[in-house]
Symmetry: C2
Amino acid sequence: MSTSQLSFKRLPMTLRLYDLAGAESNRRFSPYCWRIRLALAHKKLAVATIPWRFTEKAAIAASGQGLVPVLVDGDRWVADSWNIATYLEDTYPHAPSLFGGDTGRNLTRHYSSMADGLVSAIFPFIALDIFDRVAEEDRDYFRTTREKRIGMTLEDFVADRQAKLPAFRANLTPLRRTLMAQPFLAGDQPLYADYAVFGPFQWARCISPFALFEQGDPIRLWRDRLLDRFDGLARNAPAYDV
Amino acid sequence: MSTSQLSFKRLPMTLRLYDLAGAESNRRFSPYCWRIRLALAHKKLAVATIPWRFTEKAAIAASGQGLVPVLVDGDRWVADSWNIATYLEDTYPHAPSLFGGDTGRNLTRHYSSMADGLVSAIFPFIALDIFDRVAEEDRDYFRTTREKRIGMTLEDFVADRQAKLPAFRANLTPLRRTLMAQPFLAGDQPLYADYAVFGPFQWARCISPFALFEQGDPIRLWRDRLLDRFDGLARNAPAYDV
């Protein structure tokens, strides 16, 4: 049982978050869960994270689907990161806003979509590293579902990753230019737009030693600023120094 | 002399916009100018557009650089679409907002960067069509500068465009998903984020008969909603029905 579960038992009103874990229960690596971890910290909401593996579908069945993040708030079960973010904003309106108002919320939705696109763009670099680090009971599930999706073995998928790196970095030019013009996507301070886009990069560094960025890349510097937020919440998680 | 120049002469306080034109002076096709055309309409600001060709650097020298859009407001010359958009917002604060507040402005900047990325993504499909439609005096300039940038002839650059189309469309998945969830990037009504991303698609349809979208693509439907805005400002421009 993890510390966070213990604290949940001491504080039963605390929010609970089912959070994807690898072979080690403290290796949390879901890009979608990380968004919500930072969103909860932004709203100063205490949360007990529960390590969860891909195959533990029964544990989150009350959410009506089989993927994390799943937030449990009393008797409310909320799935899907965008749904959870808007749920938190609407349910805890007096906590610091994730969106900066209605227009901000509408403008933030596409950041969430973009971040989903980033997950697809990063996966060809880290797919096998994920396999190597998921829990023993998840290995068959992960390989089978992902190889069906990509139409080849994980090994073949990542074989030419070094050659793919320049195009990946070039495709990030718009993000890089924005982050050269302002410290965060939301301006001087981060909002959910930042956390949504940060998720895929935190996913990568938590599960893979492969270096996606060059030193000094403005995107990497922005990522590092987010690592430092909330007393180093994301930096202090088990991860690789890439 | 275009009608808009005549109206400028009748109304000397009207804003002026140097607007890229092709061989026909009413074929306006700059992705960056179109953003500003819609932004001006959004703010209900009258503008006299001045057809401008790539090689007419002298006409806009007062802006301190050689690219359009260039806005002239009395004795103020403003270049660069993002600069112009923020200039309009700050100078005409009582007109309808382009950003929906400070957070909206900050969140909009990346839409502008993304749209610049879209220009690069679309160029391999329409590069030769642009060459075929620029003014006679611009042809050498356009071919020379663009072929230097892409490292091959315009003809070679577009030769396999049909084969590139599926990947182009797949890369637009995040944008498509956002626009399946809400009618505009800014929500129920468009703001500058929409105009910025619309610009590259309007560029393409104004200068090229090549069909980037399938019928019924949610991105195309969103584009069409923007074509209808402001009494069909963008729809009524000379363009191809693609």
